[in-house]
């Protein structure tokens, strides 16, 4: 038996111990997203020992890595072969892990064009609350054998089980990219983005903030240069553009971090997910708009009800991303029928309720 198997056995022991004691466990990777979701409770269950890239075959466009593998390590290995995680997961800090990325299910600036974490998950091995190690999906892109349980785990915040290993679809890094900057107000920027979406343009990412729209084009050389000519705007040089997008992607830009000053003003950071075509939401506070209008970050001290109502009116939902006070609930409430399904799924995977209880919704 090698070390990795031992680490899985060790985790299994902890899980079985917790089941016997009916004690809660909080699953922990690099602990870089502790601020996300409802409060974490229970004894830490660390995935760090489950580490390493299990297999990587560039021509298969698939990589399999264990949960505790550092995201930075994975991305470096891919970059060496000219490939990447197309959904650009945020790296809040250097210690972020693959398991945490999948469990949180957060995607970066390229999400609107390249798809989400969930879209790139092909398979997974999970340790369930029944103490079973199960594998769903696989290493191939097309696979419809049984229910797609591995994708159900994406964004589940660990409430169904511990992600041990995951296979991801990877893609080649775009041949060419270019970043353009426009000085436009919110209304005009949203209208332009909406118009561009109807045309076959290689728009890989967009971000509007404080009267400036940044657009990142990516694709074939010819397509990117044709689009540059067509869209106009001011072209930003590669190196500063790269830094700029990283700050958005990793949410390390000052806007995302609730400093002391902001906190003292009672501000929170909200994430509103709405149809891209929604007009300006007219909410008080500072905004950063991504995903061609579909993701709106809002730093505000406004009442939670006001924000949730605005999101619902736009047929979307609002998440309390960072806040000193999470009493309004981090995620928009579910309909009664969906909550019932959530409860039954929790029961189906983790009947003793040991994994991350309450992290997604209180009581779940």
């Amino acid at each position: 038996m090698d070390a990795e198997d031992l680490s899985l056995v060790h985790l299994l022991d902890q899980v079985n111990g917790a089941r016997a004691d009916r004690a809660a466990l909080q699953i922990r990777g690099g602990n870089t997203k502790h601020f996300y979701g409802e409060a974490a409770v229970g004894a830490p269950l660390d995935t760090a020992a489950l580490s390493g890239i299990t297999s990587y075959e560039p021509t298969e466009l698939v990589v399999t890595a264990r949960a505790g593998t550092r995201l930075a390590e994975l991305e470096a290995a891919l970059e060496e072969k000219g490939q990447c995680l197309a959904f650009e997961p945020p790296r809040f800090a250097a210690d972020g892990t693959v398991g945490g990325m999948v469990a949180a299910g957060l995607s970066g600036p390229a999400r609107a064009s390249a798809g989400s974490v969930r879209d790139h998950v092909l398979g997974m091995t999970v340790l369930t609350g029944r103490g079973e190690v199960l594998t769903f999906g696989g290493q191939v892109t097309k696979n419809v054998a049984g229910y797609d349980v591995s994708r159900l785990m994406v964004g589940s915040l660990g409430i169904l089980g511990l992600i041990c290993e995951v296979s991801l679809k990877i893609l080649p890094i775009s041949v060419a990219t270019a970043t353009l900057r426009f000085e436009w107000d919110e209304d005009h920027a949203l209208k332009q983005l909406k118009d561009w979406a109807r045309h076959p343009l290689p728009i890989g990412a967009s971000a509007w903030h404080c009267g400036e729209l940044h657009v990142r084009l990516s694709g074939a050389r010819a397509a990117v240069s044709a689009a540059c000519a067509k869209l106009g705007g001011e072209r930003i040089e590669a190196a500063p553009a790269k830094r700029w997008w990283s700050a958005i992607r990793d949410q390390s830009d000052e806007f995302f971090l609730l400093g002391e000053a902001a906190a003292s003003r009672g501000e929170s950071l909200w994430r509103l997910s709405v149809p891209a075509i929604s007009g300006p939401l007219e909410l008080p506070g500072k905004q950063l708009i991504e995903w061609n209008g579909a993701q709106r970050w809002l730093r505000t001290a406004a009442e939670p009800e006001l924000i949730r109502e605005a999101a619902a009116r736009a047929s979307g939902h609002a998440t309390l991303m960072r806040s000193a006070d999470k009493s309004p609930g981090v995620f928009s409430p579910l309909s009664e029928v969906l909550m019932r399904v959530h409860q039954r799924l929790k029961e189906a995977f983790d009947p003793d309720r040991i994994f991350n209880p309450g992290r997604l919704y209180v009581g779940l």
Partner: protein, 533 residues
């Protein structure tokens, strides 16, 4: 019932306990090659007929008379789906027209514990829509309205019975289309596509159904309205849309779907390349990907398939080639030019013996005509064919084809091959004569062998057609007992009484024990040194 006249392949009894044992018809079996005698025996069975009239009477309380079919001449077209070898006499078919009728039917069936099988166009190839002998077929054929095509948001909301191609047709005036394009797209419904997570020839670049659906509205088994996903790019809570898509009608009934539309590429061009041996064709596929190219489509046909389609469409295919690759690029004219050049370099370096790039749209469609007609062309060279659908890692394509050649000798049946090569998704078509019981038997063994070889090579028993009834046995090979039990637990989280499409997708423990083949271990495993059973 005179079982002797029937070839029994699968008891339609739901998984788990014997909750249905008391239901008439529960013990009846899904039958193969149902002869007219077999059919008349079912129809002559008095307990079955009595149950049928009870169910019809109950349904008349919630549906107009013309929306309920129970006479043999009306129900016969529903005996099977695209997997025509598996047939069951349907007890009752309902054709509701409104959502409230769907809700009422579900509620009633739930109260009376009657199994429900939702049905779209019935083009499924794994028996997903095969009737349950003691159940009701919920045909959604009347849900055929396109509710909205919104060019501003690049989305369309359509009822579940709308045909896949009709969505793209409705979006065409705006320069938009719905990307997933199963070969059956003129007939199959979006509700069926959602249930199967259907693919097409453009999946690697544009994704499967899952990647192109935003929201599914429908009903839970007890008739309660429900919505999965949202009009935004995500929804709060667990990603239930992911599990609904591909759930083969076993978790909920879909009535309305909101899909993403994307701008039609300005141009598409296709390369047709011949290879003298299958190894170099397989290597060419890997090489295209290795060079960082994501083709819009990359399909492969073997020599026997090429011969069959050439006879059918006369498109001037290379009949000498061991394998033909169709490699497509789409996008702006500049993008396409750049990409075709890169593809050409790679394919030539990989040893293409004949090479042609489509000059115009007419020629591009001609290149594709054979591939698109692969199934009917196979019908032209054999009385029947069984279409398999497994996925393997791309690097194993040549090895798999060699294995299939060995199987042709072993089972004494011919097999022609078309592949979604860029996804490693195989469609071997086993040629046989369904009137010959022994050929039918060998065909099934041949099919199971292909599926299980795929699992052994690191792949899966179904890439896009679903498990249905056809691949129940092979599921025993791909998943452990604990994994199958977890599927059942998921099923019960949505449908505690297991009334939606029972008996499909998840094989029972008993069935796997009888099948007797070892589960092939994948993924991580604690205690790997212990023997597993």
């Amino acid at each position: 019932m005179g079982q002797a006249t029937l070839v029994e392949i699968s008891c339609a009894q739901p998984t788990g306990d014997a909750r249905y044992a008391s239901l008439p018809g529960a013990g009846w079996c899904i039958i193969l090659q149902m002869s007219s005698t077999a059919r008349s025996e079912v129809l002559a069975d008095s307990s079955w007929k009595q149950r049928q009239s009870e169910v019809v009477a109950a349904l008349q309380g919630v549906l107009p008379r013309e929306a309920i079919l129970s006479r043999l001449e009306d129900t016969a077209p529903f005996e099977c789906d695209g997997l025509t070898a598996y047939r069951v006499v349907p007890m009752v078919i309902v054709l509701p027209q409104t959502e409230s009728q769907v809700a009422a039917v579900l509620k009633l069936c739930h109260e009376l514990r009657i199994p429900i099988v939702a049905r779209g166009a019935g083009t499924g190839l794994s028996g997903g829509a095969t009737p349950h002998p003691a159940g009701v077929i919920l045909s959604l054929a009347k849900f055929n309205r396109i509710l909205q095509v919104d060019p501003a948001s690049c989305t369309a909301s359509v009822q579940c019975g709308v045909r896949n191609l009709a969505i793209s047709e409705a979006a065409a005036p705006y320069g938009l289309y719905y990307a997933p394009d199963p070969s059956s797209q003129i007939a199959c419904t979006i509700g069926g596509n959602v249930a199967e997570n259907s693919g097409g020839v453009h999946c690697l670049k544009y994704g499967l159904t899952l990647h192109n659906v935003l929201r599914v509205r429908g009903f839970m088994v007890d008739g309660e309205a429900v919505e999965f996903g949202s009009q935004a790019l995500d929804a709060p809570g667990l990603d239930l849309l992911s599990i609904i898509v591909g759930s083969e009608g076993m978790l909920a009934v879909t009535t309305e779907v909101t899909v993403k539309l994307i701008p039609k590429p300005l141009l598409a061009r296709c390369i047709m390349a011949s290879f003298g041996d299958i190894e170099s064709a397989g290597a060419a596929v890997a090489s295209v990907i290795a060079h960082g190219i994501i083709p819009a489509g990359l399909e492969m046909m073997d020599k026997a398939m090429t011969a069959a389609v050439e006879a059918f469409v006369h498109a001037d295919y290379d009949l000498q080639a061991a394998a033909i690759l169709l490699c497509e690029s789409d996008g702006t004219p500049e993008e396409v030019e750049e990409e075709i050049e890169r593809m050409e370099q790679v394919l030539r370096a990989a040893g293409a013996s004949r090479f042609e790039v489509s000059r115009d749209e007419a020629q591009r469609l001609k290149f594709w005509s054979g591939r698109k007609n692969a199934f009917p062309a196979s019908g032209g060279i054999s009385p029947d064919y069984m279409c398999m659908d497994s996925t393997i890692p791309r690097k194993c394509i040549a090895e798999m084809l060699r294995e299939i050649q060995q199987m042709e000798i072993k089972y004494q049946l011919r097999c022609v091959n078309v592949f979604h090569a860029c996804d490693g998704n195989l469609h071997p078509l086993i040629l046989f004569d369904a009137d010959d019981a022994d050929q039918m038997r060998r065909c099934e063994l041949f099919g199971a062998d292909i599926l299980e070889t795929s699992v052994r090579l690191g792949g899966t028993v179904t890439g896009e057609h679903g498990v249905g009834l056809e691949k129940l046995n092979s599921m025993c090979v791909q998943f452990s007992a604990a994994e199958r039990a977890q599927f059942t637990a998921v099923k019960q989280a949505f449908d505690p009484l297991e009334l939606l499409n029972p008996g499909k997708v998840i094989p029972t423990l008993h069935r796997c024990a009888e099948y007797g083949k070892m589960h092939v271990r994948r993924g991580m495993l604690p205690f790997p040194e212990l023997p597993r059973f």
